[in-house]
Symmetry: C2
Subunit: 449 residues, 2 copies
Amino acid sequence: MKPDTSAYRVVIVGGGFAGLYAARTLHRAPVQVTLVDRRNFHLFQPLLYQVATAGVSPGDIASPLRTVLKRQRNAEVLLAEVVHVDVLNRRVVFRDGDLPYDTLVIATGASHAYFGHDEWEPLAPGLKTIEDALEIRRRILLAFEAAERETDPALRAAWMNFVVVGGGPTGVELAGTLGEIANHTLKGDFHHIDPGDARIFLLEGVDRVLPPYPPDLSRKAHRSLEKLGVTVRTSTLVTDITPDDVTVRSGDLVEHIATHTVLWAAGVRASPLGQVLQAEAGAQLDRVGRVLVEPDLTIPGHPEIFVIGDLASYTHQGGKPLPGVAPVAIQEGHFVAQLIRRRVEGGALPAFHYNDKGSLATIGRAAAVADIKGLHLSGFLAWFTWVFVHLLYIVEFENRVLVFMQWAWNYFTSNRGARLITGQDLLPTVSPMPPHLLPVEQEERRPLS
Amino acid sequence: MKPDTSAYRVVIVGGGFAGLYAARTLHRAPVQVTLVDRRNFHLFQPLLYQVATAGVSPGDIASPLRTVLKRQRNAEVLLAEVVHVDVLNRRVVFRDGDLPYDTLVIATGASHAYFGHDEWEPLAPGLKTIEDALEIRRRILLAFEAAERETDPALRAAWMNFVVVGGGPTGVELAGTLGEIANHTLKGDFHHIDPGDARIFLLEGVDRVLPPYPPDLSRKAHRSLEKLGVTVRTSTLVTDITPDDVTVRSGDLVEHIATHTVLWAAGVRASPLGQVLQAEAGAQLDRVGRVLVEPDLTIPGHPEIFVIGDLASYTHQGGKPLPGVAPVAIQEGHFVAQLIRRRVEGGALPAFHYNDKGSLATIGRAAAVADIKGLHLSGFLAWFTWVFVHLLYIVEFENRVLVFMQWAWNYFTSNRGARLITGQDLLPTVSPMPPHLLPVEQEERRPLS
């Protein structure tokens, strides 16, 4: 027992990449770490679209936080939702209790935003949680089932239209995988529709997909998507969503796409804890609610409060704020852990510097684009890099093996085994079925011998 | 195209063991098969308790019906809920359409029953669907999390009491696996509780667990459960369930068990389609709503309507009705498929005869009991048999490999990787936390350097 060294309390709120890597990097620091999250697992968010598209199961991309931190003596996990921070008395506040800290690390991330149209949320689910992913999976699979039963050609076509809003990495991954599902996975599954007739629309407001990537990779991604049968519409804005259609505007042209399946992959809204820090500690927020942080990732005037991951807005000298991606979150987590350790030991560290190893986006089976320190890759090589990097960062060995097996299987068979429609048990309503669903005549019915 | 042979329509309602094996056995028969289910997957129900106890993911024990029947040319799948049968006009009726049949096979199974206390259902979920299993998993994991945070000793003890109602195979499996989770899986996961202190109660109304099994195997199962720390109470009835406790009566003794986690593994209620057959075709039902079937598994006066699986009550000459287990359902499915084929070709078959290959129940890691044609096994050998038989019957090869890997991993590591709390995002409310959650003194807090 070393009571003097374990007396320094670090509370980390959020078990995503930023928070979890901060906690793990503190494993030899003379501090007591409490990782607080309202969920009991770390989610490997870059593969969430694979759950939404039935490629892997939720359990394959999530690891219980207690398992991940089991062998770390100086860390414990607390399942609770932080609703407030008492900055003056240095306590995080839950609905039913509170917890003192010496240093606080807030890493509660961001969610998607509907640009002032929150009424679109039930019609166009986003992709941030396991529940979101299962809801999207349910809608995609039910749409094909409804099309199979629908007999009115126009109504059937509407069930087979899929609209993905947002041409960033998540939108590109979703649209590409949808193209693959329609053209390969579901081939031969239905008797009354050809899943290959599905139309997948990817809508992006600016003039190219993957806007943060170099333009040549955007062009390559665009072409790969079209090869998978995806209709890519750039410079196109969504102006309305109803249960039966999406209204889009490109310049002066207004169009309606009849569809029941809209997936939202646009907009960012930072965690509400940013506003708490604004009110309680005078932190400044950017347009979407991210906290502007100092070069050491603290907030001004509060060296004991760090904000990292998607909730933080960090700007290198004169540059653009760092993007909300896993590598940034991981490096920020590492940095604050090292800085906290150094400070407790009486030292300091130079400012945080993000080491950009490149960008990756996958489009479908064996297609991806990569920008690795200026080297632009596409096609199979980029896809292989993508697979390798993602397997490397999956936290638990068991999950890594399972996901690898599942991918290898999916790759060679075009199968997607997790095609379960779960959740609300509602079936879509279709037009009343005609009397002869099967291609036989009523008169041919034979009496049972 | 052979219009004359494909003109004979067989409609099978329900994609469980009975319905699916009927459909598959018809693969070379000169008939058109339509398998109707309101879910899009076949569920390997004998392993559902493994989902409820975080051992495997839902996707591992479910196979999309379309995948299973993909290569069967004479079969199609229809996602729809049958609400009525028009016996006179030979049509099954959905909410939004209908479908003609020449032969109808009803295999919609059974659910659990609360002995006239339906108000217990939200307090004590049963285990019939994927959603049930995830809800049970959520409650078990949240109970340990709440205990970790709870500081009042009596309230903490209540969170660590688990009550399983019903000592049949499902109840024994749930209680045994709970014992394993408490004693092995969660060991070292928590800082403020010892999961091994959890108390697991298995309540059974009659005088022994596994009542349909030979008495010596019941005794062995009882002992194995006690070794895992399960408190087995036979001849004990549940008289009330509230959110905070369960009232039980053994003879004249009435007791209360303080608990928030009650799992229901008792009672049977047959699918409501039994009542439809009673009203429309004069079928007779037993006490729990199962349809009494003829020696050829049809209902009296309707040689074109078969009832198989858990919805059927079939009695060999003078014997007891066959139990609602997978082997019975599978053999009934085979039988009706062969009989239908024979009839269409102008032949007949002798009455159905169930070939009882034995009974198996597992209790925990490497413990099980088996009665194989009079040979009674227990311990590791029985467990190994159990694993082998279950892997053999999992419908899809991919799932078989995944489940095997998962089991091997769980077996050697005592880990259960699917420990995700998903679904409703509600955290349990505990007593307000004391100021010092970590074992340090407030005074020791040091200023940040």
